[in-house]
């Protein structure tokens, strides 16, 4: 359970919050004009980033307010918390260097336990 710094209540256990998924997906203003593909794109398609992700969280077992969070999904480190409506902050991401973020050699879990000399 990582900690989330609710902008309204302060640091709390993640278990008090619920995640609303990728942030900055605006509901289209002109749905009737969109194609099925465009609607699916809004509704379903997600970046699902490994690394720095902008996402929405809700302090559902607390103040019930929504806010945005920048989180590294490959480490669960929270980099920044900011309000709904603010534009995404510029984060100099330390995105994983290889796509998986793990070293080449050894077991799939090697990065979590061991650093090669």
């Amino acid at each position: 359970m990582f900690l989330i710094n609710c902008p309204y209540c302060g640091e709390r256990d993640q278990a008090e919050f619920s995640c609303g998924g990728e942030a900055h997906i605006t509901r289209p203003k002109n749905p009737p004009e969109l194609t099925d593909d465009q609607w699916a794109d809004y509704l379903f398609m997600r970046k699902n980033i490994k690394g720095i992700q902008f996402e929405r969280w809700n302090h559902s077992n607390g103040c019930r307010r929504w806010f945005n969070v920048v989180r590294n999904t490959s480490t669960d480190e929270i980099i920044k918390v900011y309000n709904i409506g603010e534009s995404p902050p510029n984060i100099n991401g330390n995105n994983p260097s290889t796509p998986s973020g793990e070293p080449i050699i050894g077991s799939g879990n090697i990065s979590t336990t061991f650093e090669k000399k």
Partner: protein, 986 residues
Amino acid sequence: MTKKISFTFDGKKYFGNENNTLAEALIDNGVFLIGRSFKYHRPRGIISAGSEEPNAIVQLESGNVTEPNVRATEVFLYEGLSARSQNNWPSVNFDLGSINDLLSPFFPAGFYYKTFMWPPKFWEKYEYFIRRAAGLGKSPNEDDPDKYEHFHYHCDVLVIGSGISGLYAAELAAKANLKVLLVEQYNSLGGEINSYASQNLQNNKSGKKENYETKLFNEINLKLEKFENVKIIKHTSVFAYMHNNYLLACQKINSKDIRQIIWKIRAQKVVLATGSIERPLIFHNNDRPGIMLANSARKYANRNLNLGKNIIVFTNNDYAYQAAIDFKLLNTATKVLVVDIRNSSKGDLVEQARGLGINILFNHVISNTSGRKKINSVSIHKINENTNSIIDRYGKVSCDLLCVSGGWSPTVHLFTQSRGKLIYRESDATFIPHKSFQNEISIGACNGTFELDKILEETYLKMSKLLSSFNKKIQKSDYNKIEKTFYDKMKHLWIIPSNINFNKTKMFVDYQNDVTAKDIKLALKEGYKSIEHVKRYTTTGMATDQGKTSNINALGIISELSKIPIHDLGTTTFRLPYTPVSFGALAGRHVKEFFDVERTTPMHNWHLDNGAKFEDVGQWKRAWYYPQNGENMFEAVNREVKATRDGIGILDASTLGKIDIKGQDANEFLNRVYTNSWSKLKIGKCRYGIMLGDDGMVIDDGVTSRLAENHYIMTTTTGNAASVMSKLEDWLQTEWPELKVYLTSVTEQFGTISINGPFAKNLMIKLFPNVDFSNENFSHMSFKNADIDNVKCRVMRISFTGEMCYEINVPSSYAKSLWEKCIELGNEYNITPYGTEAMHVLRAEKGFIIVGQETDGSVTPIDLDMSWIVSKKKYDFVGKRALSRKDTARNDRKQLVGILTKDPNYVLEEGAQLVNKISKLPMEMIGHVTSSYYSPNLGRSIALALVKEGLKKKDQTVYAPMPDKTIEVKISNPVFIDPENERVEG
């Protein structure tokens, strides 16, 4: 004086001392054969003195307090303790399973992947026997009588481990006035100090160093006791290191009230002082009872146990000499021999041993052992300078205890759980902490620092840095006048050379799972090259000790056999828990009546008093039906349904979600979240709405009333109340922040009493004499405030039964008395409380849907034949766009219809599938029955169903093939009663 405690092992009675572990007491009683191994059923004894023990595991107690797989090294004696050996039949001394040992050539690693495949389909027969042979102890088969607790703790500094480094760190943090928690897994502080020479040595000149350490320990200990800001918990194993310095520990209390406590600790800083674990050496027949880790044996010797008179120490390092020295000084043994792999050593301890007259054989190895149930001799061979092959036979030497030491492995489990990264140190073949990921430091042996002077120095330096982040400065404690000991280099030899063909050897790596060095060779040969593949193919490191003593040896053997350096192999993951944790502790209080919150309505006690049966709806307990005078459910429900249509039925509808909506844009908000138009809803009027997801599927429905210009009250279904509230908040806060709308959940603020039936109005007039209930002034789908005895109520005239109906929302604290008043005043109209089952029948008679029953996340309002509620005029509402998608807009989707069985007395099963025609399996299904009841008002069964192109199939015959027979049914209109909606007007 210690008091004698009686206990039994395998039914035999023994006596032990207070503060002894079961292992200690058994050793002292000369019991060395404790159990049998997993696969070959080889006799096994006690190897270690701690939580790393792979062999000496027992079934503790019996009946409802039995516990399987308990390490004898961890359980402390108490009067009457009863333990049994595991995994043997008929007894640990004579175990028929040991035939597996003789057959072991046929059972190499992974043999089961290569056989038991013929004849086909016979696997389950083989498996029956395999399963009975596997497993260790026995699961309890009665309910656990004990209770468990969870405890949250926040501190500045958490110190894990109370060896010298941990104690010193705790002292330094305590002096800085911080809130400190010190956790020790055993029942006494001190860690390795407990293996040090005790009182016996104090007067001995050669015991100076031990005295110093013991003294040091006592000194710090005494100081710590004085700090009020330090909390010390013993017998507590930290088993998980999670995100953001969140750690979990399990404390064994074993009190009458609480058996174990899970500590959930959130610490600013964590100090890992978890020590290290000694490694066995890998040689032929290295698993016999009486073969022990050197330092563990030393600890036992210092506790004055009868270990053996003729002890051999087999080592590759200097540290093990301390054991030999202690055996000599303590007069544990009459003969002590050290067999050292290395060519020589100039270490201080070696010199000291020599001085004590201990015989030392350098350049020698133990190549074999004998003694079936207890070691009685070893074979010793001389090895070459490169220590890789045998050159000469030294001979067979008898002994009654063999102590082994392959060096030390830092206990980095928690460090890696914290996602820190390790690095491999070639000099002593250890993995040590390298890069931290969280706010933690590792000190002492778990950091690969083994010597006292260095430990104290390191602890001071690292703690100073750690404490500076709290803006604290500390003074070094004056503990540093230490006589330095010189330790010579160790020599790594992952596989001890033997005169026997390697392929015939039994060099155990993982004792409990019976994994040998040659099993690892086989795995590599067969292409299982990744460390994880070797682990999974051979099962090394997967026993109840999770490889605490075996993992590094397995890695070394892989490295040696595959010629890949260890630092290129990596390690397997150190998984939580560090030591096994009972389910009971993990569940804590969240069992039985506290398993889940039970939500009850304000009238709940009335329902109880009146014999209601309850139904679980989400977390709610809802009255299901009220059997009277021995009625069965069918009779009770029929009575309730009929009474509602004939007189008055009264329903507790308090569980419906209620959301208070205020703000100048509330009307616009409703227009966006519901499919229909709300613009023209007048104050004092109610409207039914259906809510969709943006995928066009129905997620909720309910009635919303306009209480004032900018004030509405929305009702939701019981189960969706929370999710609808969340979704609405989501829209408002994130998508439409420009709307001035404020939501409050008021579900539990009101009790809701629903009064239905032709005489509903009569009762309402009696209840609220000042309210005009005429149809002109209080029409269907309208709302009024009403007072009763100065209590403000909201009355909505809405109906879920098709009868004239008033729903009274009353503040919760008055709900029960108002309910009772309704019952009292309604007596003359045969007022009948009805439960959810009758509610279902009544609404189904009218063809009303229930979200979650007629819908399942794949149903649109059009599918429900409710296109009337989907506004064509609104440019947009949530879900609108999705309704015109290619598949969603099809007109041959499954649609809601009524179903009438040919046999009017047959009530279909809900969930029954429907087909156009009966055929061989598989049959093409056209839909399913969503609701089905007996309607006492119609005197026949009725059902609702979703059927492909159902709207076109009215009056057609379809079939419900049930397991016993096929039911012929006709598709009908889903409104079975009063299609003209006359009854609702009274």
